[in-house]
């Protein structure tokens, strides 16, 4: 059973996605069924992480016992679909299953007044399948297929409230971006396949010679995945999509975005990792994109009036930190002394920031969803004095806002501190930009807190109360995770993050299929 874990991680949510529409007209049953499926997947994900951290990279070959010889002529190339799960993939998979579970729990009461809920939960599970497929696969074409599944399911969910024109507008923006990005991914897969005759990432990375065509492929892959992860200059779809999607989907959609970031890292470190010559300039591009992303995101956030849109711009800004951290690591990839001195820690900061960000940004977007649930508006100027009416939401918001601004002892501080320290050693200017961004983040969250939660109570919201229990539970779980990750960052770093960093850096281990071939 354990050796089939990678396949089960895909199979179970897929089974759930195709059985949920059978519960048409029974929204409560559909919600519970989706919750059960995501809970089972969460259990499997935890098992997978334990298995990978204990036993190293897991290989799963569809339709054969081993990834070895399959061609009758004795030509040793992998021709089957292979799932290759190293610590980095397992780390992302854990984020995905955790957030899908929290999202399903929160959705239970958040969307109960909408219609067509069986389709909603079906799409939620399909989105989970897409993310899990992207992070577990070891095959380029599979990556494309799951990228498209996540893109289609995600944009259908963005347009879920189809009685609002804005939802369709955001949905088609997201879909056009993901369609163009994934077509360019497919085109570069074609370029690589044409030269090397294989689709396996590990096999390709051993063959790559970095001629002009490879450079074009790298450029296309880099640009497409940067577009899908919401980096500047192609970040315009992020605020629209995150604002219009129901708040219960936000955690999963965030992980879907960072699955593209994972693909970007996988392409830079594993697929083109052998090319020692030019990756440091790619690293510089990544770092500079990161700085631009964080700065432009936060300045755009300061002027927003819509609470969810403000937080969505922060999501762009925080993506910059991850790009910066891992970009610094990529810059010094070929310099062992610098890599040991600060490169590895920079990457740990960037990757730790992924899970921290997913936790606190989901929490914040959920509190925004709770405000919307209660007040039916997202305009900050129309809210006020809600702190006393919604104590749990207020606590959750304070924890999330402190975490995103990098205040100790919350989790945002732990990863941001690593990024400040290490990017300073590459270039002090990078660290200064990162710190200024943090201060501006705090400023804009004080604005939200003052206008929504403090101030005189507004007459229209005299009779409102706290949001339903499943929503409160989901928010409190995430708030608790924020505090736990902040208090014990070393445990998370040692158990999850450093293994993931080492998995990215250990190209030789990835290429040999974990010692099977």
């Amino acid at each position: 059973m354990i050796e089939h874990l990678p396949a089960l991680m895909i199979a179970i949510p897929l089974f759930g996605a195709f059985t949920t529409p059978l519960l048409k007209g029974k929204p409560r049953a559909a919600a519970l069924w989706a919750l059960a499926i995501t809970a089972v997947t969460l259990g499997l994900g935890t098992l997978l992480v334990r298995e990978v951290t204990a036993g190293g990279t897991m290989i799963y070959v569809f339709g054969a016992d081993s990834p070895g010889l399959v061609l009758p002529s004795g030509y040793r190339v992998p021709v089957r679909i292979i799932f290759e799960v190293d610590a980095m993939g397992a780390f992302m998979a854990l984020s995905a299953v955790l957030m899908s579970f929290i999202g399903a729990m929160y959705s239970h009461s958040h969307v109960e007044r909408e219609s067509g809920l069986e389709k909603y939960y079906s799409l939620l599970l399909l989105l989970e399948v897409g993310i899990l497929g992207m992070v577990l696969t070891g095959d380029l074409f599979n990556l494309f297929v799951f990228l498209e599944i996540a893109g289609i399911a995600g944009s259908a969910l963005v347009g879920f409230r189809n009685y609002r024109g804005e939802a369709s507008e955001a949905g088609i923006k997201y879909l056009i971006v993901s369609a163009v990005a994934s077509l360019m991914v497919l085109f570069s897969i074609g370029l690589l396949y044409g030269q090397y005759g294989n689709l396996n990432i590990a096999y390709l990375s051993r063959q790559i010679g970095f001629n002009t065509v490879d450079m074009i492929a790298l450029g296309l892959l880099f640009a497409s995945f940067a577009m899908k992860c919401g980096s500047v200059p192609t970040h315009h779809w992020v605020p629209d999509a995150y604002t219009e999607v129901p708040a219960g989907i936000n955690p999963t959609l965030l992980v879907a975005t960072y699955a593209s970031l994972y693909a970007l890292f996988r392409v830079s470190f594993s697929l083109f990792g052998e090319v020692t010559l030019s990756m440091s300039s790619v690293g510089w591009i990544m770092s500079i994109l990161g700085v631009l992303t964080m700065f432009i995101g936060v300045t755009m956030a300061l002027v927003q009036k819509d609470v969810k849109r403000l937080m969505s711009y922060h999501a762009i800004s925080q993506t910059g930190y991850m790009l910066l951290g891992v970009g610094v690591g990529l810059t010094v990839l070929n310099d062992p002394a610098k890599l040991a001195a600060f490169g590895r820690d920079a990457m740990a900061g960037g990757i730790f920031h992924i899970i921290n960000h997913i936790i606190y940004k989901s929490l914040l977007l959920m509190t925004a969803g709770a405000l919307f649930y209660v007040t039916k508006t997202r305009n900050l100027n129309e809210m006020g004095g809600l702190a006393r009416k919604m104590p749990y939401t207020t606590i959750a918001f304070i924890v999330g806002a402190a975490a995103i601004s990098g205040i100790p002892p919350f989790n945002g501080f732990a990863s941001k501190f690593l990024i400040y320290e290490t990017s300073y050693q590459l270039n002090p200017l990078l660290a200064i930009f990162a710190m200024v961004t943090s201060v501006l983040t705090l400023a804009s969250f004080i604005k939200v807190f003052a206008s929504a939660f403090l101030g005189p109570p507004v007459k229209e919201y005299e009779s409102v109360g706290e949001v339903p229990k499943p929503m409160v539970a989901a928010m409190l779980i995430l708030a608790a995770l924020c505090i736990l990750f902040g208090l014990f960052p070393n445990v998370v770093l040692d158990k999850l993050v450093y293994p993931a960093v080492d998995a990215l850096l250990n190209l030789g281990g990835y290429q040999t299929w974990g010692g099977v071939l």
Partner: protein, 121 residues
């Protein structure tokens, strides 16, 4: 010379289609035309994959009842499989995009992308 152009003809067409597709997505104002642009891009990528898998004089990779001289003279089936998958995904994407376009027309009364701008700032 003539032969070289013929061999590379599919790739030239791919480049042209990519250019036309990107032009349509970037410069056309009607939403349906943008969707058509994406379809053109998809056609270009599919043609590229098919052209990659073509070997002159080779046989289709169907093993049952294959003629004698087809042994060791078959093209790899992978590009065809990729193209089929890509076509199927493309149908889903375009259906969803057109559904969004219909819904946008319903709410905004226009398909002009410069006027569909309620989300901004």
């Amino acid at each position: 010379m003539n032969n070289m152009i013929l061999v590379n003809l599919p790739f030239i067409v791919v480049a042209l289609l990519l250019a036309v597709g990107f032009y349509t997505i970037g410069f056309k104002r009607n939403l349906i035309k943008v969707v058509i642009g994406i379809e053109i891009l998809e056609g270009a990528v599919n043609l590229f994959l098919i052209a990659l898998g073509y070997v002159k004089g080779a046989y289709a990779p169907i093993y049952t009842m294959a003629p004698k001289d087809a042994v060791n003279n078959m093209v790899l089936p992978t590009p065809q499989a990729l193209t089929l998958t890509s076509i199927v995904i493309g149908v889903a994407v375009s259906a969803l995009m057109l559904a969004f376009a219909v819904n946008i027309y319903h709410h905004y009364g226009t398909l002009d992308v410069t006027k569909i701008r309620r989300l901004r700032g």
